[in-house]
Subunit: 470 residues, 3 copies
C-alpha cells in the first residue's frame, strides 16, 4: 500500500452475494452512537480536558497491545517510554514513534494494525503508511492535531459519538471526577464508574492490607474484621450506584465461588492481618469473596462482569522493572461450568442478579458459556476479550455461542481499552464483524435479511443497554 | 420474513461455484430413507399409535432444547407445561404455544429455529412466521392436523421415510412394545431397543438400589452380589439382542475405565448395599463397570456408544422442582486419550468390539477422537452431539476429524431426539451440512465430485448401517 | 476421478475474487527452494545414495501416517511390512502396495491422500488413480523409476530443489555421515544434524542406562554422575555445532521445566542408577533436564524446538509387537503458559535463547502460543504438527496465531517427515495454504496485496532462515 486508505468494505465477506447483504447490514449501524459499558479510560481525562501531550504518550507507551509485539521483536520497553524501576524513560516521543513505525510490517494481519489504520486515517487524517521513512512526518501531523482544540478529549468524545463510557474504578475512589462531569452543563456524555474490587479479595497479596486501609477511610468503616470489609464494600457499592454505576468488574485467576461460614471468614481475615494465613486460607477467602460479590450483585443489581483465566505478570523480571499491564499477562485454560456451580445454584435464577462471562480461552464459548447463557436467565456471553478481540475470533465466537444462546444472551461489544482514540475503530470493527456473520446466515438462508437488520441494530444498541442496565 | 418458506438451498454454501456442487451432492441423498441408530422416542408411541394430544405437549413441553432457551429469557418452566414437584402445570397448550411463539425471535440463528421452520412447514404445512400475533392461528392449524389419522405416529413414521429407529431402554425393560411392533404385520418399520445401563454403574446414586431390584426381577437373578449384577446385565443384553438391539449407550461424567479384581468389586458392592461405601469406592466401582461394559461388548458384539462429559442437573433447585432433562445438563471439559487407554489396550483391536465416541467438548475432535479413530479399528467418531448438533459445529467436526480419520471412521448422523416430528428436519440438516463440506473439498480440488457423491451416499446410508450393525 | 491429475488451483479458495489473489501469491513462492529445518530423513540415505528397494518399502511401510489409517480399517501391521517381534514380514512389496491401493478411498479428504496424489503424479509420473485394479500397474511403474539413476536420493534431492535438510540425531551419534556429505564435492545440499536428547531425560525409562553409556563413550566423559551427564551433553552439543547443527529438538509428555539444586539432581541420578529412584524423583529429574536444555540453548545458541503432549505407544500390545512409531502415539491436552513460566522467567528475554513451540492440541494456538510469541522475543509459534499438519488446520493456525503474534513470530513450515518423496508435496501444501489465508486477508481489505506478496516470500524463505539460524 502506498497510501493509508481503509477500504469501505474492509472485514466484510469477499463473496459478492454475501458482501452485498453485509454492506446493507453494516449500513444499519455504521453511524450508531457508541455505548462502551466496559473500558479503562480515566474520567479525569474528560474532566480536565487537557491537550494530549504527544503522539507516543497517547498511542504507544500506555497501550500494551502495541508494546508487547514490539517487545516480541526485540524492542526494550524502556525504549517505548515505560519507566524502568520508577526511572522515567529517556526516549523522546518521536524516537518511540519511529520505533513503532519501523515495525509497522510486524503488525500485518493483527487487530492492532487494523485499529491503527482506521484511527490514523479517520481521527488524524493520516494518508501515509507508517514506516521508518514516514515516521517523523506522521508524528508531526498528529502532534499538530493534538495541539488544536478539536483534538482535546471532550471534542473527540463528541466526534466519536460516544453516548455512554464506563470507566473502571477502585471502591475507595471518591468518584469526584465522575460527579463533576455529571454536574458539568457543558459536557453531555454519560461517564459511569465501574466497581472493581479485585484487590480486596486476596489476603495473600501484598496490596491487600493497604486496600483495607483505603476502603476503611473511604467508607468510614473499620475493615479490621471481615464483617467490616463486607460492610465497607456494600457502602461503596451504594456510593458507586449514586454516581451512576450500573456494573462491577472482577478479575480472578480461577472463577470458583464458595461461601465460607462467617466465623471461618473472620478467622482467615484475622490470620491474614496477623500474617499467619496459609495459602489454603487465601484460596478459601478468595472463593468466598467471589461468592459474596455475586450475593451483593443479587441485592443491589449491579451487573457482575467476570474476567477470569489470565496469569498476571508472567515474566517477573519485567514486572519488577516496568510494573503491571506491560504485555506479559498471559492466558490460562478456562472453565466455568464447575467453578460457577454454587454461585449459579444460589443466584442463577435470581431476577436481580446478572452475570456477564468473559474469557481468553475460546474453547469455553461453545462448551460452557453458550450452554450456561442458554439456560440461566442471569448469565450473558461476554464479547471476545483481549487477545481474542479480533475479527476472526469474533466470527468464531458468534458461530460457537449462537447455537446455544442465540444473539440476545450475548453482551454486545466491549472495547475494554485504555486507548481512547481507538474506541471508534474498535466498535466499528465489531459492527463489521457482526454484519459479516449475519450476512453469512442470510446468504445460507438461515435468517431473513429483515430479521438480520433488526438483530444488528439490537446487538449495537438495544442489547448492551439492556444487559448493562444503562 | 412475512412467510415461513424454508429455502431449497438453505445451509448450502453462498459461493455460486460451491453451491452448484453442493446442490448436486445434496440431491444424491435428499430423499434417502432415515436411519436413526440413536434416539429417545418411546416404542409405545408407535405401538399405541394414539393421536398426539396437543401441539404444545408434542413440540414444546418435552423438548429441553426449546424450554432451556425460553427459560434463559425468563419464562418459568412451569409456564411451559412442566410439572412442579409433581403438581401438573396449569398452563394450557395454547398458552404454552403462545409463549414459545412470542419468543420466536430469540431462536434466530439457533438449530432449534432451523428445525422448527422445516418441521412446521413440511410436516404441518404452516406458512405463517410464529409470533404473538400468529400463535393462536398456527396452534389451531397444528391441532387440526393432529386430529387427523394422517398425523398419527405410524403415519408420520411412514411419511418421514424412517427405515430404522433405535430407542433407548433400561435393561430391566421387558421390551414388550418392541416385540409387539416387530410382530405387528401392519407396521413395517424397524424399531430397535438400545441397552442403557447407566443407573447400575453408580453405587453412590440413590437410584442404584432400586435399579438392582428391578434388574434382578427382570433377569430372575439375585443382584445382591456384584457377580449377580454382572450376570443379570449379561442376561438382559442377551434379551435385548433377541429383540433386535444392536447397540448400547452409556452416559458418564468421566470416561475412565479400569477393571477391579472380583473380590474388590464384591467388597464395594456389599459396602454400597450396607451404606458404607466411600466416594473413592464409588469412583472405582463406576470405572470398573465401564470397563465391564466394554468387556461385554467385546463378547456379544453390541456396539458401545459412549456419551461422557455432561454435568447433569447443574441447577439443583430446578432439578428438585422439575426433575431431570430440564435444560441445565451442562458440558464439562472432555478427554479420551488417557481415560480410555486401559479399555483400548484390552479391546481396541478386538474384532467384535466397537466403540462410538461422542462429545460436547469440540476440542477433542481434532485432538483425541480423530487420532483414536484413525488407529483403533474399533473406534468411530460419533456425530456432534446435543449442544453441537448444529450446522456450524458439523462443519467444524468434519474439518477436525476428517484429517486424521477420513469419513469412513465417523458414525453417520445421530438425531438423539425425543422430538419425533423433528427427526426428518434433523437428518436433512445433517445431509445439507455434509453436502456443504464435501462441496468445499470438491471446489478446492481436494476431492473429485464423483467420489464426493459416493461419500455422501455412504455417510447417509452405508456407513451408519455398518457402524451400528443394522 | 478417472485420471490422477492434481489441479493447479488445489487448496486455493473457491471464491473467484479470492482465488485470483491466491493464485498470484502462490506464484510468488511455487518454485522457491525448500528449507526443511526439522525432519526425520536419515543422512546416510543421501551419503550412500543407493536406489530405493521397492515402492512399498519407500512409501508405505515406514510411514505411520499411512499405516495407522490402514490399521484403523482392519489391515494388520504385519501385512504392511512391519516386523512382528523382530520377525520380518512375509508380505511382498506388491502385496503391501495392493493393500494400500485398495484402501485409497479411505484416505479421501485426508492430507495423506493429498500428499500421495501430488507425489505419485509429480515424482513418479503416475496418472492412474490407485485402486485394487490399478495397484500392480502403478507399482510396476514406480519400481521401474526407482531402478533408474534419476530416482536415487541425491537426484531427487536436487530435483526437489532442497537447499537445507535437517535430520534428527542422537547426541551419541558420530555424525560421520553428515561430515562426509559436507566434504563431498559432488553433493551441494546442506544436510544439518539436529540434537535430540530425549532419552537422557527420563531415569525411569529402561533406555536411560544404555543412553548414559552411549554418550559417555561418544563424549569420553563419565556419566555416572549427573554433572558428568551434563558435561557430556554440552560436549556433544559442541560436536553437533561443529557439524552444522543450528537446533535441538525435545519431545516430552508435559513441558514443565523446573531446576533442581545440583545435590538433589545428583541424588536422583545416583538413585536411578541404583534402581531406587521414585516416580516423583523421575518427574523432578525430567523437569530439571528440560530446564537445563533451555539453559544450554541460552549458552550455545542452538534453537530449542519443543514437541510436547503426545502419549507414545498408547496401545501396548502393538508397541510390544511392532515397536515405536507405529501409529498409536496419541495427543493429550496441551498447556504452555504455566509449565514454561520458570524457563521463560530465566531465559525468555535472553538474546541467545530461542524456543519454537509445537503442539498437537490446537486449543493452545490462540490461548497460549500466540500470546507467548507475542511478548517473549525468544518464543516462536511452530507450524501445525503431525495430526494437524493439514490444509484445514493450517488455516485455523494462521487465524488463531496471527491475531496475537503476527506472521514474523511463526516458524515457517516444518515437514517433520520420514517420507523423503513427500517433502515437496508437503511444502507445496503449506505454500498453498498460506496463499489462501493471505488472499483472504487481502480480499477482505485487511492487507494490501503487495504486502501479502512480501509476507508469503518471507514465510517461505526469510523467516525459516532467521528462526532456525540457517
Amino acid at each position: 500500500m502506498t497510501q493509508l486508505t481503509p477500504h469501505p468494505d474492509r472485514l466484510l465477506p469477499a463473496d459478492p452475494t454475501t458482501l452485498a447483504i453485509a454492506r446493507r447490514l453494516y449500513g444499519e449501524v455504521a453511524g450508531a452512537p457508541i455505548l462502551s459499558p466496559h473500558g479503562h479510560v480515566d474520567a479525569t481525562l474528560l474532566l480536565e480536558n487537557a491537550a494530549f501531550r504527544d503522539p507516543a504518550e497517547l498511542l504507544i507507551t500506555p497501550d500494551h497491545y502495541v508494546t508487547r509485539l514490539l517487545h516480541a521483536h526485540g524492542v526494550a520497553l524502556g525504549d517505548l517510554g515505560l519507566a524502568d524501576r520508577g526511572v522515567a524513560s529517556t526516549a523522546s516521543g518521536s524516537d518511540i514513534w519511529r520505533r513503532f513505525a519501523s515495525h509497522w510490517h510486524h503488525f500485518a494481519g493483527t487487530p492492532v494494525r487494523y485499529w491503527f489504520e482506521t484511527e490514523l486515517h479517520d481521527v488524524f487524517g493520516i494518508t501515509e503508511v507508517p514506516s521508518a521513512d514516514t515516521a517523523d512526518s506522521i508524528y508531526a501531523q498528529i502532534a499538530a492535531k493534538l495541539a488544536q482544540p478539536g483534538w482535546r478529549p471532550r471534542a473527540l468524545f463528541e466526534r466519536f459519538n460516544i453516548e455512554v463510557l464506563a470507566t473502571t474504578d477502585d471502591p475507595a475512589d471518591s468518584l469526584d471526577a465522575h460527579r463533576a462531569l455529571a454536574e458539568d452543563p457543558t459536557f453531555h456524555g454519560r461517564v459511569l464508574p465501574t466497581f472493581r474490587a479485585d484487590r480486596y479479595m486476596d489476603p495473600s497479596a501484598p496490596a491487600w492490607r493497604g486496600a483495607l486501609t483505603a476502603i476503611a477511610e473511604a467508607a468510614d468503616i473499620d475493615t479490621g474484621t471481615y464483617a467490616g470489609l463486607i460492610a465497607a464494600l456494600r457502602n461503596r457499592r451504594a456510593h458507586f450506584i449514586t454516581h451512576g454505576a450500573t456494573a462491577t468488574d472482577t478479575g480472578v485467576l480461577e472463577p470458583t465461588a464458595e461461601p465460607l461460614p462467617l466465623a471461618e471468614a473472620e478467622r482467615i481475615h484475622a490470620a491474614a492481618l496477623a500474617g499467619t494465613a496459609t495459602e489454603a486460607d487465601a484460596v478459601a477467602y478468595r472463593r468466598n469473596m467471589l461468592y459474596r460479590y455475586a450475593e451483593m450483585a443479587a441485592e443491589d443489581g449491579l451487573v457482575m462482569q467476570l474476567h477470569p483465566g489470565v496469569i498476571r505478570g508472567h515474566h517477573t523480571p519485567t514486572l519488577e522493572r516496568f510494573g503491571p499491564d506491560t504485555g506479559h499477562d498471559l492466558p490460562d485454560q478456562g472453565s466455568f461450568t464447575r467453578p460457577l456451580r454454587r454461585m449459579l445454584q444460589d443466584f442463577g435464577t435470581n431476577d436481580t442478579f446478572r452475570l456477564v462471562l468473559f474469557t481468553v480461552d475460546e474453547t469455553v464459548f461453545s462448551r460452557e458459556i453458550g450452554p450456561l447463557a442458554g439456560f440461566y436467565p442471569s448469565v450473558y456471553a461476554g464479547a471476545p476479550w483481549w487477545f481474542i478481540d479480533t475479527p476472526a475470533a469474533i466470527a468464531r465466537y458468534r458461530s460457537a455461542v449462537t447455537d446455544s444462546a442465540g444473539f440476545a444472551k450475548t453482551s454486545g461489544f466491549i472495547d475494554d481499552t485504555r486507548a481512547f482514540c481507538s474506541i471508534p475503530a474498535r466498535h466499528d470493527m465489531s459492527r463489521r464483524a457482526d454484519a459479516a456473520f449475519l450476512a453469512g446466515l442470510v446468504a445460507t438462508h438461515q435468517l431473513g435479511e429483515d430479521e438480520a437488520a433488526v438483530l444488528i441494530r439490537d446487538l449495537t444498541d438495544r442489547i448492551p443497554r439492556e444487559v448493562f442496565r444503562l
